[in-house]
Amino acid sequence: MKKIVILGAGTAGTMMANHLHHELDKKEWDITIIDEREKHYYQPGYLFLPFDMYEPEEIVKEIKDFIPKGVQLLSGKIEKINAAGNLVQMENGDQLPYELLIVATGAKIAPEETEGMKGKEWQQSVFDFYTFEGALALRDKLRQWEGGRLVVHITEMPIKCPVAPLEFAFLADSFFKHKDMRSKVDITYVTPLSGAFTKPKATAALDHLLHEKNITIESDFAIAEVDNENKKIIDYGGREIPFDLLVTVPTNKGDELMERSGLGDDLNYIPTNKATLQSQAYPNIFVLGDASNIPASKAGSVAHFEAEILTENIKHFIKGEPLKEEFDGHANCFIETGNGKALLIDFNYTHEPVEGEFPFAGIGPLRLLKESRMNHMGKLAFKWIYWNVLLRGTHIPFVSATMQESGKHFSAT
């Protein structure tokens, strides 16, 4: 039997296990998936936990419930990939040989990269919401916080779900309004970018929303340190921003196993062909989800589109056929804007988010780059879709893996 090993049973790895189990000849291929955790976390839920909009139980399930029978699930920490020897080395010393390796170990926060971030104020007045524990600690803080200066901050790009911190700022505005204490809270959004987002049209729309919600934006801020004594963040140019409550997105990095294996870049992401998803260093290693260095959003929706295309490419690879250069960077993200509304953006490597209708041109029902209640319903429905459709590797009707140009108003300014 030939062996396929999948590293990581998060969003992307789980989808691949389901696709490959369905597509490959079981008499010929043996599929193993490895994760150090027992639980699967629905990370988009971390945005809602701090505001008591979700219960913790809603966003955690057992990994094993999503791995098809017939695929071997192995629990344990991966120590190293010995790419030259086609071997995965486990922390406990076990070695797994493979013919084909799929890396889906994701990205995680690294607060230790910034001086003072993990100082004495960590989880006292400095919080993250990119981990389950962080989001819960922040929920407890927000339940009793009496107001002051709230600073929502991005350390450096790239980060997972780059719109999540903006959504956090919008939801905070809405949360404090409902608690009748908005006047006691000053919200500042601090970003290393030049505006709310990276692409011009979406930036204009989002800058406008920030303004409308009375959220101050501080752009081009490259943090040098968190000053725990005086509760302020300071950038390399000497600019200082004081806070009473700092909600930061620390530097995101790939898993350290890449450093141990000599396979990652300076942020432990694996250099990967952005159209085929094959790793640049080894033809039998493929990468999808947050673990790669491709210039696409680090999002679950991206992993879903990648999984469809990668499955086809793995079939080509096995047959010795050329790979299809098909992945176009397609991303589709809801942006919560508070008060029961949301925006939707749909874009790829070459096309920035614009206004329009989705998925049907001229009809919708979802509106691109415009606030609507329907979009908010879409965002909430995403949780159900995630657990019941996405993870199982099922195709979503009417939503193709590559971006559709129809329904998008590219010429409109």
């Binding site: 450096e156 790239p158 780059p162 990276t198 692409k199 081009d220 490259a222 390399y236 959003s297």
Partner: protein, 102 residues
Amino acid sequence: MEKIIEGKTISVNEEGYLTNFTQWDKNIGEAISKEVNITLTPRHWQVISYLQDEFKKESPLSIRKIGKSGVVDIKEFYALFPNAPLKTATKIAGIPKPASCI
């Protein structure tokens, strides 16, 4: 868009970044630096040529990467090109504004 700098016609985008690096020369760099109120010293030029070398190698630029380059540390980079150093320095260097991926 086209713009005349030091008597030469060069193409730039809406933000004033050169769209064709081959049109760049030191005089153009000097002229852009005056527009952004920076007086270029030999130290500035060292950083500028590092950025241009990276651009030629098609290797993406970030503040983190420059901090680890061994050419300049982040503090000095800010001192040389205040406020938004990467944006300012790339503009003077005649290369595209780095797109932080999303």
